[in-house]
Structures are given as C-alpha cells and as structure tokens.
C-alpha cells in the first residue's frame, strides 16, 4: 500500500533541498504542507506582483518615450526646513516608517505562534498605526505636490506630463494597498483579542496577514527606487 499512496501522510517528514521539492510536487492531497489560506495568499501576491510589474513597466516606458525632459526627482521631492533644502527627507522618513512596520509585523507573527494574545494584538495595532502614518505622510506629500508645486495628473510646470500621471497613479495604487492592509490588520487584531483564533486552534491568519503586509512593503522598495532614486 505504501508505494500506492505517496504523500506527506501522517508522519509529516519534511525533506530539504531538491529532494523536498520533488516529494512536494509528487505528493497526493497537497503539494505544499501549508494551510489553504496561506497558499492562496501566496498565489494572490504572485498575481498582484504582475499588476505592480505592469504599472512600473508602463511608467518606465512612458518615461523613456516622452520627448519632454523628466522633472528632477531630488528637487521635486525636497523639503525646505529652516531654510535648508533637504532632498528626499520626507521619503526617507516614510520608507523608514514602512520598513519598521514590517519589523513589528514579524514580531506579531512570532507572538501569534506562541499564543500570546495580548502582545500579538498590540504589535498588530502598532503595525496598523505605522501603516496609517505612512498613508498620512503620503497625503501630506500629495498635498505639497498639488498645492505648492502645481503638479497635476495631466501636467506640471517642471517637465513631462507623465511625471504627475504615473506618480499619482502608482503611489495612489500602492497607498490603497496600504490602506486596505491597515483595515485588514485591524480586523485580524480584533479577532486576536476576542479569542477567535484560540477557538479556531490556529493563529495562521496572523501570518497570512503578515505575508500581505511584507509584500506591500517590498513593493514600496521598488516604487521608491524607480521614482525617487532614478
């Protein structure tokens, strides 16, 4: 019988390396020894990667094909503080905030697996707060660009019209992802607090939420590099 039914079986032996890949893909019942929700989140993030990939490729294409000069990022995105012109200051802080939120999220996942309800929930709330801070700073950045610099989606005084359109579209789409993530975190944190996952017997949803959050964070690194450093 044993050779008729290959698979993870009850013994849950996990092979490492290439042998593990082969045994995963030749298994019955499930290909990856992970819960359904986690598998689905990974597949969704793969699909979402293609959305951001298409957005960023389109941005690079229009930036290369437009005949009007592209505005200088380090000047457009500079803050003037006490008379000093500091390039990329706001973005540096925003990036720092978002990366920090990935750290608190990772801690939350860790405490989730230790069934520490209170610490998990607090760390998730901290993550949500950092995320909300990020979105708030993005709103400040947009306001400054629109009101002070006169950047509009259809044009701007500094150069190519596509600067504004790609910037608002892509950072806006990313900001929507962060905002949705904040709501997602709050919902899951609430369920952590009221013991929903204790009754369910697993804290895997915290980790699934974490996957989404780290992804949104990772995407920001690319947006940051392509918009602000190029």
């Amino acid at each position: 019988m044993a050779n008729e039914l290959p698979g993870h079986g009850g013994d849950a032996t996990v092979n490492d390396g290439l042998g593990g890949v082969v045994s995963d893909w030749s298994a019955d019942r499930q290909t990856f020894p992970v819960p359904w929700g986690k598998a689905m989140m990974w597949i969704f993030l793969l699909s979402d990667t293609f959305i951001f990939g298409s957005f960023l490729t389109s941005y690079m294409t229009v930036r290369m094909t437009t005949t009007v000069p592209w505005p200088n990022a380090s000047e457009v995105f500079a803050l003037t503080i006490a008379g000093n012109h500091v390039p990329l200051l706001l973005i540096a802080i925003m990036t720092f905030v978002l990366i920090t939120s990935s750290g608190t999220m990772a801690l939350a996942v860790n405490y989730g697996y230790r069934r520490d309800k209170k610490k998990t929930a607090m760390l998730m709330l901290a993550t949500a707060a950092l995320g909300a801070t990020f979105v708030g700073m993005q709103a400040f950045e947009w306001t400054k660009l629109i009101v002070e610099e006169g950047v509009r989606p259809w044009g701007n005084p500094m150069g190519a019209a596509q600067f504004g359109s790609t910037f608002f579209m892509i950072t806006g789409f990313h900001g929507l992802h962060v905002s949705a993530g904040v709501v997602y975190l709050l919902v899951v944190a609430r369920r952590v607090m009221n013991g929903f996952y204790d009754r369910k017997g697993t804290y895997e949803t915290v980790e699934v939420t974490g996957l989404y959050w780290h992804f949104v964070d990772l995407v920001w690194v690319f947006i940051f590099a392509f918009f602000y450093l190029w």
């Binding site: 039914l5 009850g10 030749s26 597949i43 293609f50 094909t65 359109s165 790609t166």
Partner: protein, 589 residues
C-alpha cells in the same frame, strides 16, 4: 503533533448545508450550483453576442439592404461581439463553469477551498456582465473601438461610444478581473492543496490540468489588462497622457501629449495572447478526456500531454507581439516573436498527434461528445496551420487585417473551443442533471454546426488572400476585389444564419431532456474519473457522502487486458492477482 492535511479531515458536518431555496440555488456556496450559475450567465450573454454577429453578417452579405444598421452600429457590434465571446463567454464558461464543476469532483474534494469567495466570484461576474450590457443603453451606445480597444481612437471623439461606452467597457473588464481572481485563486489552491488521498498531480485527469494551467495564466495575464484599463480610463476621464500622443484632428490639437499608443498594444497583448491559451488549454484538457473515454483507450502519452500543457503555458507569455507586426515596433522584435511563435507550435503539435494516436486502433464509440471531439481535431488542425502562416512576419504583413485573420482565429479560437464546450456539455449533462439527452438531436446539432461553421470560415481564408480587409462596413467598388467576393459574402451570411438558428436544437434538447429525458444512471459512459463515481447523481452538496474517495490509479485505465470490465475507476483498489492497470503506459500487476 503530526500535521494532517486539511482535505483529509473527514468532517462533513463542518459544511454549512443550505436549508432554504434561496441558499440552495441563489446564494449558494456549492461549487456545482455556482458552476451552473456561471454557465447560464455566460451562455445568456453569449447569445447576445451571437445575435450581434448575425447583424454583422446581414450587413456584409447584403449591403444597402438593412436600414437599421449604420456604420457606427456595425463597429459597436464588432466590438461587443468580440469582447463578449472571448472574455464573458469563453473564459467564464470554461473556467467559471467547467472549472467550478469539474475541479472538486475530479480531484476528490468536497468543494472549493473557500466556497464563500467562490460565491462572490459568480455574483461579481454577473455585475460585470450587467455593467457591460448597460453600455447598450447609455448615450452614444457601447464602444465601437474594435475588441482590442486600441488608443488613440478608442477614446477619441468620432469613435462610437467614445464617451460613455468605452468607460463602461473598461469598468466592466476591471470588475470581471476581480471576479476572475476570486474564482481563480480558488481553482488553483483547490488543485494544489485539496486533492483526495492517492490523487497525485500526475494522476489528475487532463481536464483538471488544462483548467489549472489556464487559471494560472489568467492570474498572471489579467493584471496587464487591468493596468491598461485603469490607464485608459484615466486618459479618458481626467486627461492624462499614458497612451495618447498629441493629435491634430479636424484642425484642432488634442489636449494630450507624449503618450505611447504602442504601450497599450504591448500591455493588451501581454494579456491577449495568454488569453488565447486560457481558452484553449481547458479545451485541450477536456477533449483529451472525452477522446480517451469514448475511444475506450488510455490517452496516448499522458506525461507528454501534461508537460505540453505546462510548456504552452510558459511560452504563451513570450509570443504576444506577433499580434503587432504591423504596429511599427522594432523589426528585430518581429524576428524574436516569430521564433517563439513557431516554437509554441511544437508542444501544440505533440498534443494533436497524441489525440490522433489515442484514436488509433481505439474502440471508437461515435457518441455525441465523441463527434464533437473529432470535429475539434479537424477545426483545430485547420486553425493551427493558418496560425503558422500568420506567425511569420513576411506572410503576416500582407495578410494582416484581412479576412484571412478573421478566418484563422475563428477556426482556432472560436469554433474549436465551442465544439469542445458542446462536447463537454453533452458528456457531463447526464452527471449534472441525472438525465440523458436525445441522441438524434445531439447528432443533428453536431453535423449542422460543424458543416455550417466550415462553410462560414473556410471561404473567409480565400477572401483574405484576395485582400478583402476586415472591419469594413461595406466594400463599395474596389478594383482588386472581384464582384464574386460579394457573392461569397452572401453565401457566408446564409451559412451563419443557419448555424445560429441551429443552436435552437441544442437549447431545446437541453431543456426538454431536463424534464422528460430518460434517467442516465451514475456512469453512463463507463468512465474512470472520480466525478462518475459519486454516490448520488447529480452529486449532493459535499459530493462524497460520509467518506472521501481514495485514488489508486491514473484516470485512463480503459481496456486493460485481463480486467473484468473495459474500464477501472480511479478509486478501485488493486486486487491481488488481477491486472492493476497500466499507469503511464507501464503495466502493473
């Protein structure tokens, strides 16, 4: 603590069994009901597209006869016909319909992994259809940009539906993509993570393989369409210039500048070419199972069939610009994409050979599903070979935008998958309803449809070689087109109307048999796959009763020498001393 696979936790009580009519048939979370909902919506909207094509044919066959079709209407019919058929009918029916019905039954699961999300998927799909249909009733009517929606003309003044129609089209596509993603995540996760005991990936029926790979393609290709829809909507609504260059039209300069229309074409076809295989791969998979079952013979080269599906899926992402040879892109790209296009013909040809070798010396039963499957092999070889013509740059350039192209893709992407869909409906109808349809009506439907579609699309190749351009409202008098071309067009129109009317036979047969048909029994085709081994027909909610099935063999143990019957179901345990089947061509005893 040992980890127990979720699919293995035998607990039918965890399912929320529906209690009322509304939760059983309307807000249902049962994958089988959702599949039927998907299919009925898709077929309904497909009938709209069929009527639109009939109107187009009336105009082409008998120009200056029908006063209710003006050039703007004609373009709107083209656009809506193409978009509805490709996305809202074929994609939705093959993945939302057959995917939903077959995946859990064929892999031995109780349902999709997230039934609630699955239910949302069908209702969001319905919303997308409603938004699309609403564009017929807004000022200016639906968009007339052609189904490829190329900018700048799609959103420029003067194109029918350039203000309202195109926005509703883009909105509807975005909603459709959301619906597809919710369903698609379910299909992929179910195939990967929720199979029954013994069901390895290399024991799955090819139907599941085809649907699985097509869904993966969809999840990776639809994002490009989503992004281009967002960008075009922004261009149209708030005046950005992603796709819109500066244009001088009627002496007025547009407010756009610096956009790249070719970028849209790249994004669109990065979606559009995998889309061809999103439709084709489920059809490939399903037809493999139909041929094997009705020829009472194992599929030839199962492993090669699986790898061909995977290879086609991978390659389909690197052939997209063969739709753009005349777009003005760099000619070196043409060389690259012609090469990849010819490479993708190799795994496709492997599949065709294997279908034919499956039939070779088989015990062929000319049932209705088998007729449709054999018809598919003909139309697919035909459409595939003309695809090789169009894949080569030098041949494509003169044939571009002629009826040769129309003939080609209707053969390969219209008729072929539709024949498989009909075959599949006839094949699984007894399982879905428990009733058998009228065999004579089914065969009449097959012959009239096959011969009718051939008489529509075969002459189109000839028209294309003559140089008759596609998408023209009327030819007028053109020097290089002989007058006989018009006679041929009239003939095509008559065939098209006959084929359209013949579909009534199908619908009548389906409805009549549902109420008056003979009981079919649980396994009328004596098939091996799991969906035919359910305790009830049609299967109840939860599919398998108390115990999940256990699989001991591949899906193709037909006519195994020495076996009691000419088929061995997948869940039949091996008995000592009896031939155990010949999985992957290796005889097990």
């Amino acid at each position: 603590m040992a980890y127990v696979a979720i699919a293995d936790r035998d607990d039918p009580h965890a399912m929320h069994h529906p209690k009322s009519f509304v939760t059983r048939y309307i807000w249902s979370q049962d994958h089988k009901v959702i599949a039927i909902q998907y299919s009925l919506i898709a077929i309904a909207v497909g009938l709209v597209a069929l009527v639109l094509s009939g109107m187009m044919r009336l105009q082409l066959g008998f120009p200056d006869t029908f006063s209710f079709i003006d050039p703007a209407d004609y373009y709107q019919f083209i656009t809506m016909h193409g978009m509805i058929m490709v996305i809202y009918l074929l994609t939705a029916l093959l993945l939302g319909g057959f995917g939903n019905y077959l995946i859990p039954l064929m892999v031995g699961a109780r349902d999709m992994v997230f039934p609630y999300m699955n239910m949302l998927s069908v209702w969001v799909y319905l919303l997308a259809v409603i938004v699309l249909m609403a564009s017929f009733f807004v000022p200016g009517g639906p968009t007339g940009a052609g189904w490829t929606l190329y900018p700048p003309q799609a959103i420029s003044e003067g194109t029918p539906g350039a203000s309202w129609g195109i926005i509703l089209m883009l909105l509807s596509l975005a909603i459709f993509i959301v619906a597809f993603t919710m369903g698609g995540l379910n299909y992929v996760t179910t195939v990967l993570q929720a199979r029954c005991r013994g069901m390895t990936l290399m024991r799955m029926p090819l139907s599941v393989w085809g649907i699985f790979m097509a869904t993966v393609l969809g999840l990776l290709a639809f994002p490009a369409l989503f992004v281009s829809a967002v960008m075009m909507a922004l261009d149209s609504l708030i005046g950005t210039s992603f796709f819109m260059p500066a244009i001088v039209s009627l002496g007025e300069t547009s407010s756009h500048e610096g956009g790249s229309p070719i970028l849209f074409q790249h994004l669109f076809w990065f979606f559009g070419h995998p889309e061809v295989y999103i439709v084709a791969l489920p059809a490939f998979g399903i037809v493999s199972d139909l041929l094997s079952t009705h020829a009472r013979k194992n599929i030839f080269g199962y492993r090669m069939m699986v790898w061909a599906i995977i290879a086609i899926g991978g390659l389909s992402f690197v052939v997209w610009a063969h739709h753009m040879y005349v777009s003005g892109m760099n000619p070196y790209f043409g060389f690259f994409f012609a090469t990849t296009t010819l490479i993708i013909a190799v795994p496709t040809a492997i599949k065709v050979y294997n279908w034919i070798l499956t039939l070779w010396r088989g015990d062929i039963h000319l049932t209705v599903p088998m007729l449709f499957s054999i018809g598919f092999i003909f139309t697919f070889i035909h459409g595939g070979l003309t695809g090789l013509f169009l894949g080569n740059v030098v041949v494509d350039v003169p044939l571009s935008d002629t009826y040769f192209v129309v003939g080609h893709f209707h053969m390969v992407m219209g008729v072929s998958p539709i024949l498989v869909i009909f075959g599949a409906i006839y094949h699984w109808y007894p399982k879905i309803t428990g009733k058998m349809y009228n065999d004579f009506l089914g065969k009449a439907h097959f012959w009239l449809t096959l011969l009718g579609t051939y008489s529509i699309y075969l002459p189109m190749h000839y028209l294309g070689i003559l140089g008759v351009p596609r998408r023209y409202f009327a030819m007028g008098t053109t020097d290089f087109i002989p007058e006989s071309a018009q006679a041929m067009n009239a003939g095509i129109t008559i065939s098209a109307i006959i084929v359209a009317v013949v579909q009534v036979i199908f619908i009548v047969n389906m409805i009549w048999s549902y109420f008056k048909g003979k009981d079919a029994g649980g396994n009328p085709w004596r098939a091996t796959t799991l969906e035919w081994q359910t305790p009830q027909t049609p299967p109840e909610h939860g599919n398998w009763g108390e115990k999940l099935p256990v699989v001991y063999r591949w899906a193709y143990d037909y006519s195994v020498p020495g076996a009691k019957e000419d088929f061995i179901p997948q869940n039949e345990p091996p008995e000592p001393g009896v031939v155990a089947g010949r999985e992957h061509g290796v005889e097990h005893t």
